[in-house]
Amino acid sequence: MTTYGTITRQVIDELTAIVGPRNLIRDEEKMQPYAHDETPEEQYSHMPGVVVTPTDAQQVAAIVKLAVKYLIPVTPRGAGSGLSGGAIPVYGGILLSLEKMNRVVEIDYANMMIVVEPGLVTNEINALVADQGLFFAGYPMSLESCFVGGNIAENAGGGKAVKYGVTGQYIMGLELVTPEGEIVTLGGKNVKDVTGYDLKRLIIGSEGTLGIVTQATIKLSPLPKYKSDLLVLFEDVAGAIDAVPVIFSKGGITPTSIEFMDKLSVHTACAYLNEHLPYQQAGAMLLIEVDGSDQEQVDLDAERIGELLMTHGAIEVYVADNHTTQERVWSVRRNIAEAFKVYSPHQSLEDIVVPIAAIPALMPLVDAISKKYNIAMPTYGHAGDGNLHTTLVKNPESTMDEWYAVEEQAVNELYDAVRSLGGKISGEHGIGLKRKPFMQRLTDPVELKLMRAVKRAFDPHNIMNPGKLFDVEEQA
């Protein structure tokens, strides 16, 4: 276990010399927002020793060098919209927020790439390049608030991953400040590059444990001109889930998204939004989007999927093919997590992922755990890529201690179920702090040994976002 140095007057003075007094926060009240992300605050939050908001890569490198000198942990942070506690300064120390590094460095239309700093809100990219008929296809659901840096750290996925994949597929190059305070450029604008190990891919999804991204070169894609959405109602969860593999195997179409929502999820989001989708008659719904550059083809694809599902158990297929109706249906899907927080603040939002064909087998297992522990487990998420946000909601009658015990046991059983189907415990939210206790048990010991070796190679002093993913020292 590393014994870390403390934030002394000397450290503050040196940090102030690097970033200037305006980019350093010590006031308790002002540091409070940096103590948590979107995971339950009472369970996971931790106050930083000091918050710094550097404005360029040189400052970030100088801060890291100082942290090495005094052996102080550094926790990089984007927008704080993470769902695994990855940006929580669990050992205090320096919280390094990238909020002020939000410039667009270059828009390179000839290569269809954009170079940005990590503090840029992801959707800003799309707003900037939409006029040129381009977009960044790898974005997550929280694109209006999350930062590019966080997307890279978590290799964020999202609602369009079925067709477009996840963040990592679009990151061409990175500028990184290593855990020893050196600045290095990995990858670049070359479409092909096998010049040595692909360290760039290693950084993507490393949750800020291998360094701090200070610049990213992102690939842009042609923005599809047309899209059409289907809201498909099924009598029950099994009906909806069973239909998902059929879309691929018999439809011959790769939709942009296939989102799944059970009745409880739709009901809660509708109540929150004062929306009236016809959820009363349906036990579960699929929200399917197709897009393309030809209106007729898009309509045809949507219709073919709709027809196919009508013969595979759908009780009704609604069509949203203009912005207003599309916003109506997607707003329900996007607001489910937010709605559940209002409904019950004590819950565990999970991020399990299984091979697509295994989704039908997973659902009865989820149902059995829900019944065994007498807790509601609404399930929604990206059915098209097997990534489901099953949520464990505290039973109102149980005490907090009982809830924490039930939560741990139920999550363990859920993870075992997922593993038995060849799945993983996180598809897009990451391990961070929240899932670290489960990581050791559920990961192949050899894989874990290799991961630890990588961590040590990058971060010999163990100062870069320590306490996340796994413990560097093997636990007895």
Binding site: E316, V317, Y318, A320
Partner: protein
Amino acid sequence: MNILVPIKQVPETSNVKMDPSTGTMIRDGVESIVNPLDLYAIETANQLKERHGGKVTVLTMGPPSAHKALREAIAMGCDDAVLLTDRAFAGADTWATAYVLARAIERIGGYDLILCGERATDGDTGQVGPNIAAALNIPLATYVSGIESVDTGRGEMSVWRMTEHGYEQLLLPLPALLTVVKEISFPRLPTLRGKQRARASEIPAWGAGDLGAEADKIGLKGSPTRVVKIESPKVTRGGTVVKAADGPEQAVDQLVAFLRGRDLV
């Protein structure tokens, strides 16, 4: 119960940009949709049909491409549609538009009720519905927020309408025209089967000649409205700050006086 729903195709205004030099809307690349407030009229019509039988016919005056709006309404459950399209209709204000719609409604005939949206999201006048009622000389209720009862046998209906001070209940003999507000219903989404039916539907297109419309009552010629100037309003929300410098009680008194002065408490 046969219901007619005049609707309008409008530019989707949620992401519309204005040209600051001319003060007009930049229509390039903007999708055309059914006026969002007309969806409540369509939904209410469909619900009444489901309860009382009959059919729902939608009609719109616009360019040939406005058939898309009519097909969307059919996809939501409406039965028939009529497109009123003629170069001679171009440039119509609310008066000339209502005249053309009223002539078409007379030609369709056999209706019990006409339902209109509160207003269109582009013109924002709220005049076409009432103008149609005037042209047809039938009873009118605007800002209808709920339907209390319909008695098809006696040919009357009871509705709630919103006023500045609350709600009032009206009993109307049929046929009548209602303009409805958002509170009245939640518009359903079009179904796949509805979309397919809409695509297969033949929508008659009527021109000025079909309606026997008088040439000086249609289009720009028949429009008494003249647009003198268009400008974007400047939003100012200064508000009044009640300061508690002389103690909270005085501040509360001031606030109460402020609210009383506006009949709010």
